[in-house]
Every structure is written in structure tokens, then in C-alpha cells.
């Protein structure tokens, strides 16, 4: 079965998972959404890379989300977001999606990439920026950065297929999740004194 012809289905998956990440449904929900998101990223990357190489993104993404989730489960749950905040974020996400669907054709012309790649990349990058702008918690900010980078990686995979770049980007993603875990745990760690 050729999954390429159904790849556009990855777009609603990305929209839903990034919305869950933005709105926040506890750390279990976040980990599941992040994992599903990296699965969709993997699907989109297979359009341009061999499956073996694209699987690096999936494995690294799953590891990164596991690292972040472990640190958060140790740090304890944060107070849930009020319903009004969740609604506001969902509306902001819808507005962003409208902009993304309008801008996507221009990006396709510029980079000669497929529609699914362009949409997936822009959705994740913009939702990542939104996540970074709307949160002050370190782990949430790092998740925003990871979303942004995942979106960029979808786009960049269509343009460049260097193994070393893929490896270094994987290292950056993993390091980013470790930094997120460190920042979540650091206030409770033993200090210098």
C-alpha cells in the first residue's frame, strides 16, 4: 500500500495534535499529542527521504517527548488552564490556520514542494511560535520550540538530504528536550551552596 497518496491526512493530525499541545490537557495528553505529532512528521518526511532516514525523526521525537514527560511527571502537574484560556487559545489557533492555508501556495511556489509538506511545515512552525508566545513555563516553551523545529524539519527535508544535517538536527532536538527537562527540574535541584 502506498501511503503517499493519503499523506494529506497528516495535516488534520498535525492540526489536532498541535492544538492539544497549545490548549494543554495535562502531561499525559501532552505526551500523547507530541508522539502523534512526530508520527505525522515522519509520514510527511517520507515523501522526500527514505523510510530508514525519516525514521530518525520519529525515534528522536518519541525520545524527546518521553524525556519531557518524565521530567514533568517528576515535577508534578501544574494547575489546569481555565476554560476561557483554552477557548481563547483554540480561537487563536484557528486564526493561525486560516493564515497558514492562505500563505501555503506562496511557499509552494517559492520552494517547489508538495502541498502537504508546505501545509504541515507552516502549521507546526506557526503553532510552535504561538505556543512560545503564550507560555512562560519552561517545558511548554521548549515544546513550542520543538514544534517550530519539527515544522522546519518537514520543509528542510524536502530541500536537503544530508545525513550529517539530519544527525545534527536530531542532536539539537534531543538536547532541546533535555534542556526542557533540566529547566523544569532545576528549581528543585541541589544548589551550589
Amino acid at each position: 500500500m502506498n501511503l503517499d497518496q493519503y499523506v494529506i491526512a497528516a495535516i488534520p493530525i498535525l492540526m489536532l495534535s498541535s492544538l492539544v499541545l497549545l490548549v494543554g490537557f495535562g502531561w499525559r495528553g501532552t505526551q500523547i499529542a507530541l508522539s502523534v505529532q512526530y508520527l505525522a512528521v515522519f509520514w510527511l518526511v517520507t515523501l522526500n527521504w527514505p523510510i530508514g532516514m525519516a525514521a530518525v525523526k520519529l525515534v528522536v521525537g518519541l525520545m524527546a517527548s518521553a524525556v519531557l514527560a518524565t521530567a514533568q511527571s517528576n515535577a508534578g502537574e501544574n494547575s489546569p488552564m481555565p476554560r476561557s484560556g483554552q477557548v481563547f487559545r483554540a480561537i487563536a489557533a484557528v486564526l493561525i490556520w486560516i493564515v497558514v492555508f492562505s500563505a501555503s501556495p506562496a511557499v509552494m511556489v517559492l520552494t517547489h514542494i508538495k502541498q502537504a509538506t508546505s501545509l504541515g511545515s507552516l502549521i507546526l512552525m506557526s503553532m510552535g511560535l504561538l505556543q512560545m508566545g503564550m507560555n512562560r513555563q519552561p517545558a511548554r516553551v521548549v515544546i513550542g520550540l520543538m514544534c517550530f523545529l519539527a515544522g522546519f524539519e518537514i520543509l528542510y527535508a524536502a530541500l536537503e538530504s544530508s545525513v550529517l544535517v539530519a544527525g545534527l538536527l536530531a542532536a539539537v532536538n534531543l538536547s532541546l528536550s533535555l534542556v526542557g527537562a533540566y529547566l523544569s527540574a532545576s528549581p528543585g535541584m541541589e544548589g551550589d551552596q
Binding site: L145, Y156, L159, V163, L164, V179, Q193
Partner: protein, 464 residues
């Protein structure tokens, strides 16, 4: 032997080793400072790719190493850069023993220096963006040590530096296309915009510099000073490398105007911001913005004078930042948070730290007889030759910074505490005195030290 192994591999190995020594600050200081000093001396004395004879022994330090198909190249012309980086590393690590920036400073600091040198050495340059990103990620535990609440400045620093990565990588991809299709004006504009945004994030150029005062205000002054010295410093060298490599970027007619505009805004906002601050650590951040503005102005002038002044300003800039951070660290250790209110009369309480802070501040402001003055004078003259409007704004920003400095002096010299007392211990006082003497010496005799720095720009043969 191999140059990248010596100047990248060796410090990287020592930085890992320092993880086991970091709880013993004396040992960590000794090892990291010694490694940097040895590497600086080696860079000064050992030629690359030339046969070296020591008695019956003869050997050659080769310039290149290949890792995963990519080259890391340090040629003979890079030796000045290596001397500069490792000599500064030596001074920073030495001062850390007194400044007490946290146990992670030594291993992470040395690891960062190794990564930044690797970023300068890697070919093709695209990989520099990834290596710098790894250095940024590595610096986070140093800026936000264990046991401290997470500062918003650190988070913003992480965000802005990470956002640079996609822009640089995409710009590199477009640059590759331009080589095969050099006459497409749309591609040239797209690449220039992407490069511009990438470097603006890296160098904390206006309007992406809001994190600088936030970072300095919330973190230990010594660690933020270290990061703000090395990261933008190496990013500026990479900027020069890109400009030198790509004629379409170098010859872009809008580039000087854009650089002059943003640098002027940085000088003005930095000067006014510093003058209006009540917290000394935030004042330091704005002074860094001001100083970065002048570095960019030097590049934006696109004259040989501008480029020379950029190179010669590096040592005064680094020394002023080091002294500023060091003096602020002493203030933090000896009393409450360094605010204008808390430092009232400090010249009589902490005379060395107070004088050090004032000398560093006024050197950054370009006060005559201090290290930055000859460079500022030449830059301002060159700017006057190109635009009187820019000159007026730059003078305005400089006057604002001077005003803030004189206010600082007046507060420090107030006689709230009538009796004189030397509050610093002997070793910090000696280090502060040596740093102040260095800045005054360069200011009095710029011709002795600064011309040697012109070697740093010899590699960039296409730039004026």
C-alpha cells in the same frame, strides 16, 4: 598532529573531564585556565601546515580533519583568532575563581569555546548554525544553575538563538541555488532577508535584542558576560566569513544602509536604556547592546577603516565586558543586589570594584584615555563622512551613556559612608587593578596592542 584536534578536540575532552572537578573550584579554575593558556601559546607559536623542527624531531600540524564526511579546517591564518579566543578564555576562567559563577561554569564554558571554534572551522558553513545551537543549549545550565528558579531572560535567550537556526539553514540552501542561478533578483532578495534575520537573531540586533538586558538582569553577571562576549563575538566572525564568501551578499547595495540603520538604533536604545536603569545588571545588558551597535556600525560603513576598527575593537570590548562582569560579581557577593540605591557611597566601601565598574563602563562609552576611545573616534569620523544624521544619533546615544556613567559616578562617590574601607580581598583587588591597568594602557598606547589584531581580518580577502 592535527589543528582541529588540538584546538577543538582537546578542550572538548578537558571540558568533559572538568565535570569531575567542578565541585573543587580551585582545581577547575587551574585546569581550565591552564588549558586555555597552553592552547593560546600553541596557536601563537605553532604554524599550521608547515614543517616544525625541534632538535632531531620534525613534524607538521595539518589543518584539516574529516568527520562524517564534513571538513573541519583551521588554517595558519586562523591562528590569530585562536590566540584571541583562548587568551580570553584564560582570563575568564581565572576570574571565575573569585566571581563564583556556579560550578558548571568551567566545564560548560570550555565546552562552549570548543564548539564555537568548531563552528568557525566547519565546512560548509551551514553546519556552523547547528554547532552554535548546540553551544547555546549547552550554555543553559550555566546561565540557570541548579537550585535557581528559571529566569525569563534565559528562556528568551534560548528562543531567539534557536530561531536563528532555520533562517541560516534556509539561507544556505538558497545560497547554493544562487551559485547556479546568480542573476535571479528574487532569489537574491530572499537569501539576503533570510541571512539578515538569522544574523539578527544571533547577534541580538534590534528588534531581537530584548532578551539581552533581561538575561543580564536575572542571571549571574559573570556567566551572562561570558555568553555575551563569546557568542556574538564568534557570530560576528561568521558574519564576516559569509560576507567574504558571497559576492551577491557583499555587494548588495541595501546592506550598508540596513546595517547603519539597525546599528544606530542599537547605539541609541542601548545608550538611553543604560542611562535610565536603576539595576546595574540591566545597565550592563544595555551597555552590551550599545557596544554591539558600534561593532555592526563598523561593518556597515563598508570601508577599510570600518573593518579595521571592527578588528581592533575586539580586545577592548572583551576586556571591558570581563571587567564589568567581574566588578558586578564582586558587588553581588559583598552586599545586596547591585542597584543604584544599594551602591550609594560604594567607592568608600568597595573602591576596587567601584573603580573597575566605572572604568569598564566608561571604556564601553568611549571616554578619552580608555581602551575604546581611539576606535570610537575613528568610527565616528568615518560615520560623519557618510551621514550626518547617523552621526547625530550616534552622538546622542553616546552622550546618554556618558550621562548614565556620570550619574553612576556621583552615586558611588556620595559620602553616605564617611570612612574609607577596602572591602575586597587581596586577590580580587589585584585582578581588578590589572584589568583596569590593561584598559588604561590600551587607551594610552593603542598603537602597541591594537595593530596586532589586524591579523584577524587578513583571511577575509574580499572585504574592503
Amino acid at each position: 598532529m592535527n589543528a582541529p584536534l588540538i584546538w577543538i578536540g582537546l578542550p572538548a575532552v578537558f571540558s568533559i573531564g572538568l565535570l569531575f572537578l567542578m565541585r573543587r573550584s580551585g582545581w577547575a579554575t587551574a585546569v581550565s585556565a591552564f588549558v586555555c593558556l597552553v592552547l593560546a601559546i600553541l596557536a601563537w607559536q605553532v604554524p599550521i601546515d608547515q614543517l616544525i623542527r625541534i632538535g632531531p624531531l620534525s613534524f607538521k600540524v595539518t589543518s584539516e580533519i574529516v568527520i562524517l564526511g564534513r571538513q573541519f579546517i583551521l588554517v595558519d591564518a586562523d591562528r590569530s583568532f585562536l590566540v584571541l579566543v583562548y587568551l580570553l578564555g584564560f582570563f575568564w576562567f581565572l576570574g571565575a575563581w573569585v566571581a563564583r559563577p556556579g560550578r558548571l561554569f568551567w566545564p560548560v564554558g570550555l565546552g562552549m569555546i570548543a564548539l564555537l571554534v568548531a563552528a568557525q572551522a566547519v565546512e560548509p558553513f551551514l553546519f556552523a548554525a547547528l554547532l552554535i545551537e548546540v553551544a547555546v543549549l549547552l550554555s543553559i545550565p550555566m546561565l540557570n544553575p541548579p537550585g535557581h528558579p528559571v529566569s525569563q531572560g534565559t528562556l528568551r535567550y534560548l528562543i531567539f538563538q534557536t530561531l536563528a537556526l532555520p533562517f541560516i539553514l534556509l539561507a544556505g540552501w538558497i545560497a547554493g541555488i544562487i551559485e547556479t542561478n546568480p542573476n535571479d533578483p528574487h532569489l537574491l532578495i530572499q537569501a539576503a532577508v533570510l541571512f539578515g534575520l538569522g544574523f539578527a537573531f544571533w547577534l541580538a540586533v534590534f528588534p531581537f535584542n530584548t532578551w539581552v538586558p533581561l538575561l543580564t538582569g536575572e542571571t549571574h553577571p559573570y556567566t551572562s558576560g561570558f555568553v555575551l562576549s563569546f557568542l556574538p563575538g564568534v557570530a560576528l566572525f561568521l558574519t564576516l566569513g559569509f560576507l567574504d564568501s558571497y559576492s551577491w551578499l557583499r555587494d548588495n547595495p541595501n546592506l550598508p544602509t540596513i546595517l547603519q540603520l539597525v546599528s544606530t538604533i542599537m547605539v541609541v536604545t542601548g545608550g538611553i536604556g543604560a542611562a535610565l536603569q536603576k539595576e546595574l545588571k540591566r545597565m550592563f545588558g544595555y551597555a552590551v547592546v550599545f557596544e554591539s551597535g558600534f561593532s555592526l556600525l563598523a561593518l556597515g560603513l563598508r570601508t577599510s577603516v570600518g573593518l579595521q576598527e571592527f578588528a581592533t575593537s575586539l580586545i577592548p570590548r572583551f576586556f571591558a565586558l570581563l571587567l564589568f562582569s567581574f566588578a558586578l560579581s564582586i558587588f553581588e557577593q559583598e552586599g545586596p543586589a547591585p542597584t543604584l540605591e544599594n551602591i550609594r557611597g560604594s567607592l568608600r566601601r568597595l573602591p576596587f570594584a567601584s573603580c573597575g565598574l566605572l572604568v569598564a563602563y566608561f571604556s564601553l562609552a568611549g571616554l578619552p584615555l580608555l581602551a575604546e576611545f581611539p576606535i570610537r573616534q575613528a568610527l565616528i569620523e568615518a560615520a560623519a563622512g557618510q551621514s550626518l544624521v547617523i552621526l547625530a544619533w550616534i552622538l546622542g546615544g553616546s552622550l546618554a551613556l556618558w550621562g548614565g556613567g556620570f550619574r553612576l559616578l556621583a552615586i558611588m562617590a556620595s559620602n553616605q559612608q564617611p570612612e574609607w574601607k577596602i572591602g575586597e580581598k587581596a586577590f580580587p583587588a589585584v585582578l581588578l587593578t590589572l584589568a583596569m591597568a590593561g584598559i588604561v594602557f590600551i587607551g594610552l598606547l593603542p598603537g602597541v596592542v591594537l595593530p596586532g589584531l589586524l591579523d584577524l581580518i587578513k583571511v577575509y580577502t574580499h572585504l574592503k
